[in-house]
């Protein structure tokens, strides 16, 4: 039996959750005040995911940098790999929201897309 402690992020109450695990199975969730805490805890201990956002350089644009993000959430342990995949990437203006910047980043099956518009200079 393993016990993991988490803070629920779904509302300002921020319940301290205690998740009891048997190997990869969740045995119980305690400390939550409502159902959302239970759902969050189960996902967080079995398959935690995040949206990753960053910036890359733009050449020939009105501004030098553009906001990018993973189109969907990616496994939490891939965050650094996603950011590393963006090192040295430069894209050409004009760029529109949704343009693919890196396809299938870090083998996650998720694309990194532009999250801002940059017009050509």
């Amino acid at each position: 039996m393993e016990i993991r402690e988490l803070t629920c992020i779904n509302c300002p109450l921020g319940c301290q959750l205690k998740v009891t695990m048997e190997g990869k199975e969740v045995v119980s969730v305690e400390g939550n005040t409502c159902r959302r805490g239970d759902t969050y805890a189960r996902k967080e201990v079995t398959n935690p995911t995040r949206i990753v956002t960053s910036t890359v350089k733009v050449s020939g644009g009105k501004v030098p940098m553009i906001n990018v993000k993973t189109q969907n959430d990616v496994p939490k342990d891939k965050i650094f790999e996603c950011v590393r995949a963006l090192k040295g990437v430069t894209i050409q203006a004009p760029v529109r929201i949704g343009d693919v910047v890196v396809a299938n980043v870090a083998g996650t099956g998720v694309n990194i897309v532009a999250a801002g518009n940059v017009d050509a200079a």
Partner: protein, 420 residues
């Protein structure tokens, strides 16, 4: 002198939403004045996700959220001037601005909407002893440097203040390869959202030390180390609790203040609590036809609320331009009590108000299992239980015009926190 029906100062989310609402309510002649080289305001540097959850049911980044409103402004052909700094607003609504192409310009408006946003509290206001070496940045300045200019301010970082911008920057700098050693917070609770504490600090094992402050900064040319210490209930450092961290950068995330130099010199009455204009239910200041919305009015936690509030300001300004309004309308003051620090608006005009009015406020402390109670004079009108309230999150009460009409002799509305 050139003239417009409506001039909006600031092209951030507040200015943009106000312009769209004014146009949709019948105002053709609108001008937005923005000192920056782009519309979108501070959102352009906020590259993390989480914007617009309430409005669009999606987690957008700052630039994505801004782009939606910029598109609405452009679709409507609303006029704007970039790189244009507003220097002065007179009490009779002459706006003086300056840019490279036109030099100094003076414009007459029938109505003005103040949407200048806020700025960060500087170190001067914080009173930390020691030299003033390089390597000390406000969290927002660091955000701008990293996200818009691609420049990393340092490699080993200590952050003072656990406001959202500081938390977001802890993650951002960690992802960019810096080592964030600690986040110190003076208060016994964080001013930031829980979500940010988990996803920006816990995810990366960055410690958050509550009830701690910076007591010494070492380094003559560049920051070399920072000493923090625990503080007692009086917020004074406790001897013997000092911890020294070597670092080359100190970020300060110590809160925001509305940017109201222009408003003050125009004669707008400013609340000492919010540092923003005192307004009535139409978000109008003490100067007729001058309205305020967004962070210049009071510091918001979520941009969704900024957009909602700004739409109301735009609608109300349109109504004022088209119909004027009743002089000397009856006003009822809202009194904040028992933990409620202020309310926006401060005054309600029962006969002129829209059918329902959202009153927003912040509490002064962390409250658990309490209720927000609203009284018309001594009569309890509504009571809503709140499991938890914190100074970092805005609260609200909705007032109904029909309900106010049942109390024609009312003197005050009171909003207070009570035991549940």
């Amino acid at each position: 002198m050139e003239s417009y029906d409506l001039i909006i100062i600031g092209g951030g989310p507040a200015g943009l939403a106000a312009a769209v609402a004014a146009r949709d309510n019948g105002i053709e002649s609108i001008l937005i004045l923005e000192r920056d080289k782009d519309l979108g305001g501070i959102l352009n540097q906020c590259i993390h996700n989480g914007f617009g959850l309430h409005t669009f049911k999606e987690e957008l980044t700052g630039p994505e959220y801004a782009a939606r409103f910029i598109a609405q402004v452009k679709e409507r052909g609303i006029e704007y001037k970039l790189n244009t700094m507003v220097m002065d607003i007179s009490s009779d609504k002459v706006v003086t601005a300056m840019n490279r192409q036109e030099g100094m310009i003076m414009l007459q408006a029938k109505a003005v909407i103040l949407a200048m946003g806020c700025r960060e509290r500087s170190r001067g206001a914080l009173n930390i002893p020691g030299y003033r070496p390089a390597g000390i940045y406000s969290a927002g300045t660091a955000q701008r440097l990293v996200n818009m200019e691609g420049f990393m301010p340092g490699r080993e970082v200590v952050i003072l203040g656990s406001g959202d911008i500081g938390l977001i920057m802890a993650r951002r700098m960690t992802l960019e390869g810096a080592k964030v050693k600690v986040v110190a917070e003076l208060m016994p609770y964080s001013g930031g959202l829980k979500r940010n504490i988990v996803q920006c600090l816990d995810d990366f094992g960055i410690p958050l030390k509550l009830s701690h402050t910076v007591i010494d900064i070492e380094g003559k040319n560049r920051v070399e180390a920072v000493t923090i210490a625990e503080v007692g209930p009086d917020r004074k450092p406790i001897p013997g609790t000092e911890e020294r961290y070597t670092c080359d950068t100190l970020l300060l995330s110590c809160g925001l203040i509305p940017e109201n130099e222009l408003s003050r010199s125009a004669g707008v009455e400013i609340s000492p609590i919010t540092s923003g204009p005192v307004v009535n239910d139409s978000l109008e200041t003490n100067i007729q036809g001058v309205f305020a919305c967004g962070n210049v009015l009071h510091v918001h936690d979520l941009v969704d609320y900024v957009s909602q509030e700004a739409s109301a300001a735009g609608r109300n300004a349109a109504d004022y331009i088209l119909h004027g309004h009743g002089e000397n309308a009856k006003q009822v003051e809202i009194l904040p009590q028992g933990g409620v620090r202020y309310t926006v608006p401060k005054y309600v005009r029962p006969e002129e108000m829209e059918d329902s009015l959202t009153v927003r406020f912040r509490v002064g402390d962390v409250y658990k299992n309490c209720a927000i109670a609203t009284y018309f004079d001594d009569q309890l009108i509504s009571r809503r239980k709140r499991p938890v309230m914190a100074p970092g999150e805005m609260e609200q009460v909705v007032l109904q015009k029909a309900k106010l009409a049942e109390y024609p002799d009312m003197k005050h509305i009171t909003i207070k926190i009570e035991e549940a």
